[in-house]
């Protein structure tokens, strides 16, 4: 029979843990809201860029640019976005699993791969699995700044144009909605041609749209806008990751708090029973003593 005092001690420690997990849940909720706002605020930029690209495509401009050209893949780059901290359910492990799948595929094809990982968790997990990491980032928390992401994008653009890499994949956790986030590997370079996805949706839509003039010329705008479009996509990956991490932590901590409550309930029941047994035992002893004295 467990003794009452030990049960009480355990109950108290579980209560403390519940306090911590509940606080973490609240913090994650607040951070999630902020991250979400940032993500929504960033959407305008992407949409406007897409609009301009679409208009350039609508003019019938021949979309040829080094960033759009697909080359035979020999050297690839992979960027894996994970969190710096744990206690967020499957967030980090799912991204790592996705990255391992992709890296396994590349090494199977005997390709040279440049691996960049953001987040302590991902770095440790991938290193444990025997992956050589070429570049590490720790600074991205729940508020990735564009000025911090831009240099990374810049260096990828440069190595793509110089031919040091033929393809760039980003492994991150896409935020679909609050109930669903999925770890995905997205190919950012070569850039998908803007005509591929958008014009198919509205084949006749452009004809009615306004006729645009271009200053100085459509090609020169295209030349500038494609890198910007890549940067904004890369930035979106970071933002999505940040939002997903907070959601994952929120959900994980909510589960932990609920579990702690369940354990406390169970421990309380056992504690009460143990206490009652102890009291009954003591009464029996007293009664036994009284009986013995009577004789």
């Amino acid at each position: 029979m467990a003794n009452a005092r030990a049960l009480d001690r355990r109950r108290r420690s579980v209560r403390n843990i519940r306090k911590i997990t509940r606080t973490m849940e609240l913090i994650a909720t607040a951070r999630f809201k902020k991250a979400m706002d940032r993500s929504v605020a960033a959407r305008d930029y992407t949409e406007q860029l897409a609009k301009i690209l679409k208009n350039i495509a609508a003019v019938g401009e021949d979309l040829s640019h080094p960033l759009l050209r697909t080359r035979p893949t020999q050297r690839t780059a992979v960027l894996v976005l994970t969190g710096n901290r744990g206690l967020c359910g499957g967030y980090n492990s799912n991204a790592v699993k996705q990255a391992m799948g992709l890296l396994g595929q590349w090494s199977g094809d005997e390709m040279e791969t440049h691996v960049t990982v953001s987040g302590k968790r991902g770095i440790n997990a991938l290193r444990f699995r025997g992956i050589t990491i070429d570049e590490e980032h720790f600074k991205f928390e729940d508020k990735p700044a564009f000025s911090e992401v831009a240099p990374i994008g810049e260096s990828y653009l440069k190595s793509y144009i110089d031919g040091d890499i033929d393809r760039l994949d980003v492994v991150y956790t896409r935020f679909v909605n609050i109930a669903k986030q999925e770890a995905v590997a997205e190919t950012l370079l070569p850039l998908q041609s803007p005509t591929d996805e958008e014009t198919l949706e509205s084949p006749a839509g452009h004809l009615a749209s306004e006729e645009y003039d271009f200053y100085p010329s459509a090609e020169s705008i295209l030349e500038e806008i494609l890198p910007a479009s890549f940067q904004s996509r890369l930035f979106k990956c970071f933002l999505d990751s940040a939002v997903s991490e907070q959601v994952a932590r929120m959900v994980a901590m909510k589960g932990a708090t609920e579990n702690a409550s369940g354990i406390i309930k169970d421990l309380s029941r056992r504690y009460n029973r143990a206490r009652q047994t102890q009291i009954t035992g003591e009464i029996m002893e007293i009664l036994g003593g009284v009986e013995a004295l009577k004789k």
Partner: protein, 145 residues
């Protein structure tokens, strides 16, 4: 420049990757295009243009007490789309011109001017950084109205 309530206004939106910096109506907008400034008023013909570093000036924005103000925002290059009585400025970096410190901007420009670049790529990068710094300094030095 004065405007009356009957004058048509044009909507101006400035977006950066992080947020929408500005979304307001103005009587006129001056855009720093790649090759020089261009004034836009309501009903301007649609165009898409490349922007250089410089100031976006919004003239005749309705102020708090019935008056009008001018909003000046420094941008470091980008794109603009004009059409549908709307000016959209897409830039990677935008800041209120009034908040730029002229001393700091000058130091930055001098630092860049002192730098040496080798090879086409570096020279081009340095030149564009210099012109951005110059535009920034110009924006900072303009008297505040």
């Amino acid at each position: 420049m004065s405007t009356t309530s009957s004058q048509k206004l044009i909507r101006c939106v400035i977006v950066t990757p992080e947020q929408t910096v500005l979304d307001t109506k103005a009587a006129g907008v001056v855009l720093p295009l790649d090759d020089g400034s261009r004034g836009i008023a309501a009903g301007h013909a649609p165009f898409i243009g490349r922007l250089g570093a410089g100031e976006v000036k919004l003239l005749g924005v309705a102020g708090g007490n019935g008056g009008e103000t001018t909003i000046r925002t420094f941008i470091a290059g980008g794109f603009t789309e004009v059409g549908n009585n709307e000016v959209t400025v897409i830039t990677q970096q935008a800041s209120d011109s009034g908040s730029i410190d002229p001393v700091e901007a000058k130091v930055e420009l001098e630092r860049l001017l002192a730098q040496k670049a080798v090879g086409d790529e570096q020279i081009n990068a340095l030149l564009s950084a210099e012109s951005t710094a110059r535009a920034k300094l110009r924006a900072a030095q303009k008297p505040k109205k």
